[in-house]
Amino acid sequence: MSIDTAAATDISEPSSATVAAVHSLLFREARLLDTHSYVEWLSLWTPGELLYWVPGAGDPSLDGVPSIVLDDRSDLEDRTERLAEGWAMAHYSSISLCRSITNIEVETVDADQLIVHSVLDLTEIRDERRYHWTGRVRHELRVTADGLAIAVKRVDLVDRHLATPVLAFLL
């Protein structure tokens, strides 16, 4: 018990202001993605390298194992442009989205970094068909002078071991 207590004191609890800022960021992100506002959504990220990752069925730590999405900045900029410009065959105008973000937990790594765990619950309507997407989300956030910025976002879908429908939007 004494060891656990000692370890716990090393992790500084995030302040209520930090938690509120995280909630605000995640909810704004959800709204921007639901409304296909990709340019504004990209502005929530750090300006440098980033990772947007939706692992697939296999062990994602192994080489050559495909993910559902595995985007660096260049890939993600192309993907958002493709979606915003309507290049994707499943066109954004035919996709309606509504998502809720719940079970938010904030961990402080250090003064500049936060890790946020949450649960995504999303309904997509496309071609008069209903798709349900549920997964656990992990955000790595940077604390900057301008506020919080997303550096890494990983979404582990609960059904990632099954065949996945076409994903012509962003989780």
Binding site: P66, L162, V166
Partner: protein, 435 residues
């Protein structure tokens, strides 16, 4: 639309004497009937005549690398296991207990010395043979339905690609592959060791009939429209190559009807890609790759691999070899399929080459989200919606019939990459098998 027409669109014309569908009346050389994509009875007939009696692709030997390795697969609607036994031999067995039919192996893949049914503890080697029945004195002889997991009677492989059939007798795999075999060689010889290793799968759920995927494998007509974002937005030179090749029959790309339902896009010299498959290798890596090919395959074969474009090759009924992944079409119902992709690594090359190949695969050919393939799958769903709504009774496949040519050397029909030579070939074979 009146009711009579609607019924015909959905079910197709039937022979008057009985209720069995006359498939041959639904397939003409230049058009096929919409019911082939909609009808449940036709679908069940396909599962029997194509996916049980014929050769069907199961998986790659590298997916079961060790003694005891297994992978769950589907052949048509039937759950099977691809396994490697303790002697190193590869088997395909039905993943069902002979006693009461329960699924025996539940994980999708792994290694196991033996397989055990969770219901009454019957135990099997991974070639399907029984090694134990608890309380066996209840049987005076063998159980009425046998004691072993049913093993598929015919399993053969070519270049590591494993095919199987539920039928005891039939043509050899070599005869089935026929003129497609040299294109398989060309596809796999890009790996300097002469063999490839599947490293991961990704499956996509598509609300369409599986034959929309087969029809699209050599359709060069759709690319500049469905993939307009990739061609014109990011990669204008790729779009130009496609447009030029459309009318470049003698000197460049062509579609070949290889027979037995197989078809290939044999790209012209403009698409030669130095073997690695549509990726530009940095000079140092390109040199090391050329050396590896030279060492592995000999100078003559290495030179031809480096100068030949990578074919887009469809092996009837369910395997598509393209770029850097094997694709498998798994029918689930008349209006649903799983589109499964298997990325593979080359053996005997700098790991950075496989990393770059994988990066390109992930970006463009991930089935659910890749900038190329996800658009194909979304388009197939639009086809299914159109036909379900009675958009048309017949699907046209007459493009370029007047300009296709018989190659006197091979006896195969060849045509322009934006014509429907391959589609017509697939359907003529389908008609033979189904009637």
């Amino acid at each position: 639309m009146n009711i009579a027409t609607e019924v015909e669109v959905r079910t197709g014309p039937r022979a008057s004497s009985d209720s069995e569908i006359d498939v041959s009346s639904l397939i003409e050389i230049d058009r096929v009937h919409a019911s082939l994509f909609l009808d449940e009875e036709i679908f069940q007939l396909e599962m029997e005549k194509i996916f049980k009696r014929g050769w069907v692709y199961v998986g790659h030997e590298s997916e079961v690398p060790l003694p005891g390795s297994f992978q769950r697969k589907r052949l048509g609607l039937v759950e099977v296991l691809l396994t490697r036994d303790q002697d190193g031999d590869v088997h395909v067995i039905q993943n069902a207990c002979p006693h009461r039919g329960a699924v025996v192996c539940k994980p999708r893949s792994g290694e196991a010395r033996a397989l055990k049914c969770s219901y009454h503890g019957w135990t099997f080697r991974n070639d399907g043979s029984n090694i134990g029945i608890p309380l066996p004195d209840a049987y005076t002889d063998q159980p009425r339905c046998g004691s072993s997991m049913p093993r598929l009677p015919r399993v053969e492989s070519y270049r590591g690609l494993v095919f199987a059939s539920f039928e005891e007798t039939g043509i050899s795999l070599e005869a089935h592959l026929g003129d497609a075999a040299p294109f398989i060689d060309r596809y796999i010889d890009r790996s300097p060791s002469g063999s490839i290793a599947v490293t991961g799968e990704q499956r996509s759920q598509v609300h369409c009939n599986w034959k929309f995927a087969t029809d699209n494998t050599t359709d060069g007509y759709h690319a500049r429209f469905v993939h307009r974002g990739v061609f014109w937005n990011h990669y204008p030179t790729v779009g130009q190559t496609s447009a030029e090749s459309a009318n470049d029959f003698d000197g460049g790309s062509k579609i070949i009807n290889l027979g037995n339902g197989h078809q290939v896009v044999d790209w012209g010299p403009a698409r030669a890609t130095s073997g690695a498959g549509k990726i530009d290798l940095p000079a140092e890596l390109a040199t090391s790759y050329e050396q590896a090919l030279h060492d592995g395959l000999g100078p003559e074969r290495a030179a031809s691999v480096l100068n030949e474009p990578v074919p887009h090759l469809f092996i009837f009924p369910n395997l598509f070899l393209i770029q850097n992944d094997l694709r498998v079409f798994t029918p689930l119902s008349p209006s649903e399929m799983s589109y499964d992709t298997y990325f593979w690594a080359m053996e005997g090359v700098d790991p950075e080459i496989n990393r770059l190949r994988h990066k390109q695969h992930q970006r463009f050919y991930s089935p659910s989200s890749g900038f190329v393939l996800s658009d194909d799958l979304a388009q197939y769903e639009q086809l299914q919606i159109g036909l379900t709504g009675g958009a048309t009774s017949w699907l046209d496949q007459s493009r370029g019939m007047h300009r296709e040519k018989l190659n006197p050397k091979t006896g195969n029909i060849e045509g322009v990459t934006t014509d429907e030579v391959g589609t017509r070939g697939m359907w003529q074979h389908y008609k033979e098998v189904m009637t």
